[in-house]
């Protein structure tokens, strides 16, 4: 390629990317702007791209509303439990899938694929009955358990794909030195698998933080409600007073997942490449 052509190509690529990213970012930008406008300005009829005066009052009212803070806390707890749980359960299981061949493998792999087809509505009523028998309805732990199993197919699939690429000789050497399976798993494999574990953790945290349907049906007590359910209650009745605080709460609700994406970015990318693609 000539130099001129190359410059054009680079400029075109940047232009295309900026266009794409603007489309993807604009709604969050708009939400942020709305959250910083005063209620009078939101309803002044002149929808400005920037607020006249930056007003933090909507954020203040979110913080004052204990329900919203409580629901964020609940979402955070459920997200952390289900992330740790799904990775901790999937790690030994994916090891078993890769290193031992047996009919059980096909059953697990079959479940991974078929579980994605079933709509949550088929699951939720019987699940409610089972959780009630275990005294785990209206419990953050019960919901976490559901999320663990809900994100397991994907986490298993990624770890399984990644682990396939790890040479068996490494473990054999450790075994020779007298290491047990558990030690091999946590001392030898864990460090190698970190990118895939990171990517799975990101995936399961975000899917738990975002989940709505199960939380809507399974949790009834107001003090256990998660953030999406809490915020969904405010829509449909957003009179003039509601738009601003709802925007502020929505901005805050976006931050945790976004932080997780940013912090885990490198692992996320490399874990995905090897885990989800190499098949």
């Amino acid at each position: 390629m000539t130099k001129k052509k190359k410059i054009l190509f680079t400029a075109g690529t940047h232009a295309g990317l900026i266009l794409f990213i603007s489309f993807l970012l604009f709604p969050l930008f708009w939400l942020t702007v709305t959250s910083l406008k005063s209620t009078t300005e939101i309803y002044s009829g002149s929808a400005n791209m920037f607020p006249h005066i930056i007003s933090w009052s909507h954020y203040a009212s979110v913080v004052r509303e204990e329900h919203i803070l409580q629901s964020m806390w609940n979402s955070l707890i459920v997200g952390i439990i289900s992330t740790i749980g799904s990775v901790a359960l999937a790690l030994p299981a994916s090891y078993a899938l890769v290193r031992y061949k047996s009919p059980a493998n096909n059953a697990v792999l079959g479940w991974i694929l078929s579980s994605q087809i079933f709509p949550a509505v088929l699951l939720v009523i019987p699940l409610y009955v089972i959780l009630r028998n275990l005294h785990m309805t209206d419990s953050l732990f019960g919901l976490s358990l559901v999320y663990i199993v809900w994100s397991l197919p994907f986490v298993l699939w990624m770890l399984h794909g990644y682990m396939k690429g790890v040479p068996v000789e490494l473990e054999e050497a450790a075994m020779m030195d007298g290491a047990t399976t558990t030690q091999v798993l946590f001392r030898v494999l864990f460090p190698i698998l970190l990118p895939a574990i990171g990517a799975s953790a990101v995936f399961s945290f975000v899917s738990s933080w975002n989940e709505f349907f199960f939380a809507l049906v399974l949790l009834k007590r107001p003090d256990y409600i998660t953030l999406p359910v809490e915020l969904a209650q405010y829509t449909g009745m957003e009179g003039q007073a509601r738009t601003g605080p709802l925007a502020a709460a929505s901005v805050i609700a976006t931050i945790p997942s976004l932080l997780v994406f940013i912090v885990m970015r490198r692992w996320f990318a490399s874990g995905l490449i090897a885990g989800a693609v190499k098949e």
Binding site: T13, G16, L17, F20, I21, F23, L24, L25, P27, L28, W30, L31, T34, Y43, G45, A47, L89, A90, P92, A93, Y100, W111, S115, Q116, I117, F118, P119, A120, V121, L122, L123, V124, I125, P126, I130, V149, L152, L156, T181, W209, N210, F212, F213, V217, L227, A232, T235, T243, L246, S250, A253, T254, S257, F261, I262, R265, A269, A276, V277, E279
Partner: protein, 295 residues
């Protein structure tokens, strides 16, 4: 190692997932499928009633309407997210400067829970204060503000655009991972042979991407058909049931009216419909991949 000892060790490793998977996924799913063949109402006893629910579904115009819009929504959102996601992934894969910043920024919609996506787009589509009306008016595309989400003409396209916007990042991330896994040697060989960029795309990139493309299309199709949250907030299925996706219809049957058996029957039909469509799609995909080798 002895065979039974090996089996026992494998079982020990699998046991931690088997218990929760059976208890939280397999058993309730089987029970849920069974409920689709009963007249179960919330609080009542469960009576098997064979295929009666399905006869009733067949004559239920709301059900047909919700499946029609479900298919339109699923095909449109899946196609949109894959095409835009592929475009985005191809641009990012050029590894130009700042591409890692772009790659993080593009994740923003994914970081927003579907409920928040609904809240944002409700505000964007708002009649009086929404950005869509403001921008379109300024550009002269529309004369007067439109109430997008409650108009019979625009509600479905509006909901689909919000849906595509939310699902693009997932597609882009997976396709980018797929692109980065294509061995560099392939491109180097092509460049020696003097292939142009468009030739590279057609003869190396897209064929190498095909397996992951098929996977992400299938997954997105299933996920989109089962969508609930974003539309729940955007329109609650309105106006007049126009955007009532199958999951919304099933939710209403079960939790608004208490017809759990009927709702489960809707769920069962959803499973059959998705399976048939995916089966047809994968058959075509696989055939395409096998046939050139035969020639």
């Amino acid at each position: 190692m002895l065979a039974h000892k090996k089996n026992r060790r494998q079982l020990a490793l699998l046991l931690p997932i088997l218990l929760p998977v059976v208890l939280i996924s397999v058993l309730p799913l089987m029970r849920g499928v069974y409920l689709g063949f009963t007249d179960y109402r919330l609080g009542d006893e469960v009576h098997f009633n064979g295929y009666e629910n399905y006869v009733q579904l067949f004559h239920d115009t709301f059900f047909w309407q919700s499946f029609r819009v479900g298919i339109v929504w699923t095909v449109a959102v899946t196609a949109g997210q894959i095409l835009l996601g592929l475009g985005l992934a191809l641009l990012l894969n050029t590894r130009i400067r700042f591409s890692s910043i772009y790659a993080v920024l593009m994740l923003v919609p994914w970081a927003m829970p579907p409920i928040i996506r609904g809240i944002v787009w409700r505000q964007l589509f708002d009649l009086d204060t929404g950005a869509v009306n403001v921008i379109f008016s300024a550009l002269g595309i529309i004369d007067k503000p439109i109430n997008w989400l409650s108009s019979f003409e625009y509600a479905i396209p509006a909901v689909i655009i919000a849906g595509i916007w939310g699902e693009v990042p997932k597609a882009a991330v997976f396709l980018l991972a797929g692109l980065q896994a294509i061995p560099h040697s392939l491109y180097e060989a092509a460049r020696i042979d003097g292939a142009s960029r468009s030739n590279e795309l057609r003869h190396i990139t897209l064929p190498s991407l095909k397996p992951i493309l098929a996977a992400i299309v299938s997954l997105s199709f299933m996920w989109n058909f089962n969508t609930f949250g974003i539309v729940w907030v955007l329109t609650q299925g309105g106006p007049g049931g126009l955007t009532r996706l199958p999951m919304l219809a099933a939710y209403e049957e079960a939790f608004r009216y208490g017809y759990v058996g009927y709702a489960a029957a809707i769920g069962n039909v959803m499973v059959v419909v998705i399976s048939l469509i995916l089966f047809a799609y994968l058959r075509i995909e696989l055939k395409e991949r096998i046939s050139p080798a035969k020639v």
